[in-house]
């Protein structure tokens, strides 16, 4: 057996330890830097106007992104309405009926694959499916694209959460003569409630920061939203358009909107942690 000096091994160990610690701090510092910059620059844009006024042409003071906030909320809400029932039922199928069947496994596989598809592709898909036939961009198309992102996330999380419900609960309900669908809705949904809600919030948090699927579907608009059947203002596209503009005050608005979205997403994620911890008790 090869003999190695103990001293060298110790030194190597220490060097590696120092490198690991330093690079861990380096990585974490960069991430803190991002949050700090967004917070610092975004806070400058915060004002009452920011939340209540429409965007203005460059140079005109008193600009805001109220229409974009409303539009984003409306689209995410509609996307939730579409995706929650579909995703939830798909999750029910995967955990209750399709376990270890060929169809169920292939669905599970494609759900996992679909979660990894770039969101810009889903935007393109909805563009060809909705925008091309109707010949105009619309908030409906945007909401559909967002819903397509949410469905696999909700399906997978609700499958996981429903699988955690002990089998004895299902069996006792079935033994009492309850039909299968009643067992699912009244027993499984109720006991996995926290987990299911977590999945939905996770999907909402993911979707509310998405820009790419809205590029070809909802587009953007400088006006108040009259209906979702027209191009709809939204926060992320506002960031994209304004950040690329050469005007200082527009860029400031983009920072403000970034700050708003980042805090919203972080708050949702913290809320999820909190809920999961509560449900574990």
């Amino acid at each position: 057996m090869k003999k190695r000096s103990n001293f060298l091994r110790r030194v190597l160990d220490w060097v590696i330890k120092i490198i690991a610690t330093l690079s861990a701090f380096f990585g974490i510092m960069i991430l803190i830097w991002i949050i700090f910059e967004v917070g610092r620059r975004g806070a400058q844009a915060m004002s009452l106007n920011f939340f209540t006024k429409l965007p203005t042409p460059p140079g005109v003071p008193g600009e805001g992104v109220a229409n974009a906030i409303v539009g984003s909320l409306a689209m995410v809400a509609l996307a939730g309405f579409i995706s929650v029932p579909i995703g939830l039922l798909a999750g029910v199928y995967l955990s209750e009926f399709g376990k270890d069947t060929r169809f169920g496994n292939s669905i599970k596989f494609s759900t996992n694959v679909m979660m990894g598809i770039p969101s810009i592709i889903l935007g393109l898909f909805i563009y060809t499916l909705v925008v091309v036939p109707t010949k105009h961009f619309s908030g409906y198309a945007g909401a559909l694209a967002l819903a397509l992102i949410m469905i696999p996330i909700i399906a997978r999380t609700s499958e996981d959460m429903l699988s955690l419900v002990p089998n004895s609960l299902r069996e006792s309900a079935l033994a009492l003569g309850a039909p299968r669908w009643k067992v699912v809705i009244q027993i499984l949904f109720r006991s996995a409630k926290a987990g299911l809600i977590t999945g939905v919030i996770l999907a909402v948090a993911r979707v509310s920061g998405e820009t790419a699927p809205l590029l070809f579907t909802a587009l953007n608009s400088p006006y108040w939203m009259r209906s979702l059947n027209q191009p709809t203002a939204n926060l992320t596209m506002t960031i994209f358009n304004y950040a690329m503009s050469p005007y200082r005050d527009w860029q400031r608005i983009a920072w403000g909107a970034s700050f708003l979205i980042m805090s919203l997403v972080l708050a949702l994620n913290i809320f999820i942690r909190f809920m999961l911890r509560e449900s574990k008790r």
Binding site: V113, T128, L129, T211
Partner: protein
């Protein structure tokens, strides 16, 4: 555990009892319940099948809408690098090249760094640091990519052009990779921002893999007199290797289709250049930048074909990843 079955359910039970006296009405009831169950089962199967339908729908739709460009350029689309909307000549090579180069840069930076960070979190750091840092990393994995894009354009690109690129071209300027003007934006910057974006994502997964390594295995190595570094290299990493590769694959899938973090800083330039400082394009950034300008049918169809190529690449990566992860799960089942 007290479960409220609901009034409806109790009443039904009572009815069922009553009905059992007359077998005819009981049979009717059972038939109804059977139908309801079947309906519910098919409804949920339909929703699950919807996901499969979307997957094939994307493929068919993208293929259908890009058939004009497929018919015009044929296979040349993939290896031609000319992208000229005026002359109506389109080739995807520059975008594909940019996609792969920026992803490779991102992986080269993110994988070792997140390996080291997750090792730090599981092996070296005291619990008082591990918990909040691990928590923060999970939160950071959820930050939308457009935030990274904004930060990249306004904060990191100027930083690159002032501090990092001059140093690189001074010391490594003999390589063609690091020649050219330090503009800040470009493929290198895009790759670095991608790496920062996927860093928390990969780190969180690698940390979970390391956490699954049984303490007994590590302790026995320590007991033989191994140093932390030796335990890490010879036990921890080797034990979790398949999981680590899976984490890298998931990160890769994320990086390759990323749009917003890249579009802001890559510079939208359709030429392949040896230098990493030069502006470029990825498939996703080309789509994001040029879709609004594409009024020509051929232009639009070429962009959709780019989308189709990206879809096929990501599907391939995702399918490989899932097969790999399934293999791991089977392995765990055997143990």
């Amino acid at each position: 555990m007290a479960i409220n079955m609901g009034k409806n359910f109790q009443q039904e039970q009572w009815e069922l009892k009553q009905a059992s006296f007359s077998s005819h009405s009981r049979l009717k009831k059972e038939k109804r319940v059977f139908k309801e169950n079947l309906f519910f089962r098919y409804l949920s199967a339909l929703c699950a099948g919807f996901i499969l339908v979307i997957m094939f729908g994307i493929l068919i739709e993208l293929y259908w809408h890009s058939h004009l460009s497929i018919a015009t350029f044929g296979i040349k689309f993939i290896y031609s690098s000319s992208w000229d909307p005026v002359k109506k000549e389109f080739g995807a090579l520059a975008s594909i090249y940019g996609t792969f180069v920026s992803t490779i840069i991102a992986m080269l930076i993110a994988v070792p760094l997140s390996l080291v960070i997750s090792l730090f979190l599981t092996e070296l750091a005291p619990p008082i640091i591990t918990k909040p840092v691990g928590y923060a990393i999970e939160l950071l994995a959820g930050i939308p990519s457009i935030i990274y894009g904004m930060w990249g354009l306004f904060v990191f690109a100027p930083f690159m052009s002032r501090y990092i690129q001059p140093v690189l071209s001074k010391n490594l300027g003999f390589l063609p990779l690091f020649q050219g003007a330090p503009m800040g934006i470009g493929i290198l910057t895009a790759g670095i921002i991608l790496s920062i974006m996927i860093l928390p994502f990969i780190t969180a997964m690698m940390r979970d893999v390391f956490k699954m390594v049984p303490a007994v295995v590590k302790e026995s190595a320590y007991g033989m007199g191994a140093t932390s570094f030796e335990v890490t290299i010879k036990v921890t990493i080797r034990y979790g290797l398949t999981g680590l590769v899976g984490a890298c694959f998931l990160g890769l899938g994320r990086a390759i289709g990323e749009t917003m973090a890249v579009t802001f800083v890559i510079g939208n330039y359709h030429q392949i250049s040896a230098s990493l400082f030069s502006a470029g394009n990825t498939i996703a950034s080309t789509l994001a930048n040029e879709f609004a300008e594409a009024t020509e049918p051929l232009y639009l169809s070429s962009l959709l074909q780019l989308g189709l190529i990206l879809f096929l690449i990501t599907i391939m990566i995702q399918v490989l990843t899932q097969i790999w992860l399934m293999k791991i799960q089977k392995g765990i089942g055997k143990l």
